[in-house]
């Protein structure tokens, strides 16, 4: 837990525009240790919000503090990045690298202390269940295994702030269960923000969830509170889906 602040993510009025399009429009958000889910339809601004939290893009306006620091400055941003893990929606990779080399490469980029790199890499690969494939080249892995390798690179530096964008895409049900367990484990010591379409992932792992629509947060609360939003006419196969649909309908009406 961050000694300086219980909140690892503090966002106030955050806005991001791309030309005339506003992807994120005045978002307020606070998140401490634990798993925080981010739901929303396509184009809601989830990925853009996540990329701002990952310091990949800078906000157009508003305030952003991550791990008690303002990422606008070079020094604070570099410090944040040392303690940050990020899995993009469409992760890339070098096909010729082995799993170990790929995770090691990111460990080195994240300035993991040189003496601990090897152990950190092995631990990260173990945690995603790829220990028996650590010497396999990435081009030989299935889609799900590739995503797990990418998850490994995101957690190799034991981050205090972990951002996952669609982390379970391509994972089979058993692997998704394992991944949710990993999320809960990470959430004990870090702030984990998960952006996903899969409502059941949010329900199973997240202590808190926010629903975004058209660049704004239209709901923030616990999964139970989201479920309670459902009325009898909401669409969905599960209570959480119905709650999601109802909250969205309300926001869009």
């Amino acid at each position: 837990m961050n000694e300086n602040s219980a909140m690892n993510v503090e966002i106030t009025g955050l806005t991001r525009r791309f030309g005339s399009a506003t992807a994120v429009a005045g978002v307020d958000l606070r998140a401490g240790p634990g798993v925080f889910g981010l739901l929303g339809p396509n184009g809601a601004g989830k990925t853009t919000l996540l990329r701002m939290m990952a310091t990949a893009v800078s906000p157009t306006s508003g305030q952003l503090r991550l791990l008690g620091r303002d990422p606008a400055g070079y020094g604070p941003r570099r410090e944040i990045r040392r303690r940050l893990g990020y899995l993009p929606q469409n992760p890339g990779y070098y096909p010729g690298f082995t799993v170990t080399e790929f995770v090691e490469y990111f460990a080195l980029l994240k300035e993991v202390p040189a003496g601990t790199v090897r152990q950190a890499v092995a631990t990260a690969i173990d945690r995603v269940g790829l220990a028996d494939r650590r010497k396999h080249r990435l081009r030989t892995l299935s889609g799900g295994m590739l995503r797990r390798a990418c998850i490994a690179q995101a957690i190799v530096n034991e981050p205090e702030l972990v951002l996952f964008d669609e982390p379970t895409a391509g994972l089979d049900p058993q692997q998704r269960v394992t991944f949710r367990a990993l999320l809960r484990e990470l959430g004990q010591h870090a702030t984990v923000v998960v952006s996903t379409h899969l409502v059941e992932d949010v329900g199973a792992a997240c202590a808190e969830v926010a629903l975004m629509d058209r660049g704004r947060i239209v709901f923030q609360g616990t999964p139970d509170e989201l479920m309670a939003c459902a009325d009898g006419q909401a669409a969905g196969d599960t209570p959480l889906e119905r709650g999601y649909t109802a909250a969205l309908d309300r926001a869009q009406s």
Binding site: G92, Y93, Y94, P95, L138, R139
Partner: protein
């Protein structure tokens, strides 16, 4: 006298033609053909500007060869598919599209260079030289695209440029390299060089038509 059946047939034909044209246009757009055409135009302008200068004996042949190689590389670079497998399994039109687009671009590149040279400059090797060189080197690029992937289609033409330029140099500073496989160094009317270049172009075109450029996993656009 137009019967309803004939009118319907005519409309169906018109619709098919319009659809085919649209498919061709979309295919061309997916292969960045407008950018390729701009690059080919740039090559033609470069050739025209280069021909303003007075070049010595083998320089007058080497300089156009460099630009011809650039144009051929551009043509070969367009065969890479941004879609991969989803496109491959789509249906029977893909080979025709590949064939038509590649031939059209090759002809366009050759014509652009010939026209640029004809606007006042003196092209030492003449039109036949341009056709042979562009076709042959394009064939090399197509073969590279088929084996190494569209992103690496440039490796063959670029590597071939060096022995090609060197072979031209040896025509003045012997011993001369006279193998027809180094067709840039052969006289424009030489049948052997034309056959070799044609063979390479035909082989590249055939492979690309049937198989397309190799898809490389993890390759972004």
């Amino acid at each position: 006298m137009n019967t309803p059946a004939m009118t319907a047939t005519g409309q169906a034909t018109a619709t098919r033609l319009a659809t085919a044209a649209r498919l061709l246009r979309l295919y061309a757009a997916s292969r960045r053909t407008p950018s390729a055409l701009a690059a080919i135009a740039g090559c033609a302008i470069a050739l025209r500007v280069a021909l303003l200068g007075h070049w010595d004996a083998y320089g007058a042949l080497q300089l156009p060869l460099v630009i011809e190689t650039a144009a051929a590389t551009v043509v070969a670079a367009t065969v890479a598919s941004p879609f991969g497998e989803p496109e491959r399994v789509c249906g029977r039109w893909l080979p025709f599209l590949r064939l038509a687009a590649t031939v059209a671009l090759t002809v366009t590149a050759t014509s652009a260079l010939v026209i640029a040279a004809a606007t006042g400059g003196h092209l030492a090797g003449g039109t036949l030289d341009v056709i042979r060189n562009v076709a042959g080197i394009t064939g090399l690029g197509l073969l590279c695209a088929a084996t190494l992937g569209g992103g690496l289609s440039w490796t063959g033409p670029t590597a071939y440029l060096l022995p090609g330029v060197y072979a031209l140099y040896t025509q003045w500073h012997g011993p001369a390299l006279t193998t027809p496989w180094l067709w840039p160094a052969r006289p424009p009317h030489d049948l052997g060089g034309a056959l070799c270049a044609g063979l390479v172009f035909a082989a590249g075109l055939a492979v690309i038509t049937m198989r397309g450029a190799r898809d490389r996993p993890g390759d972004g656009e």
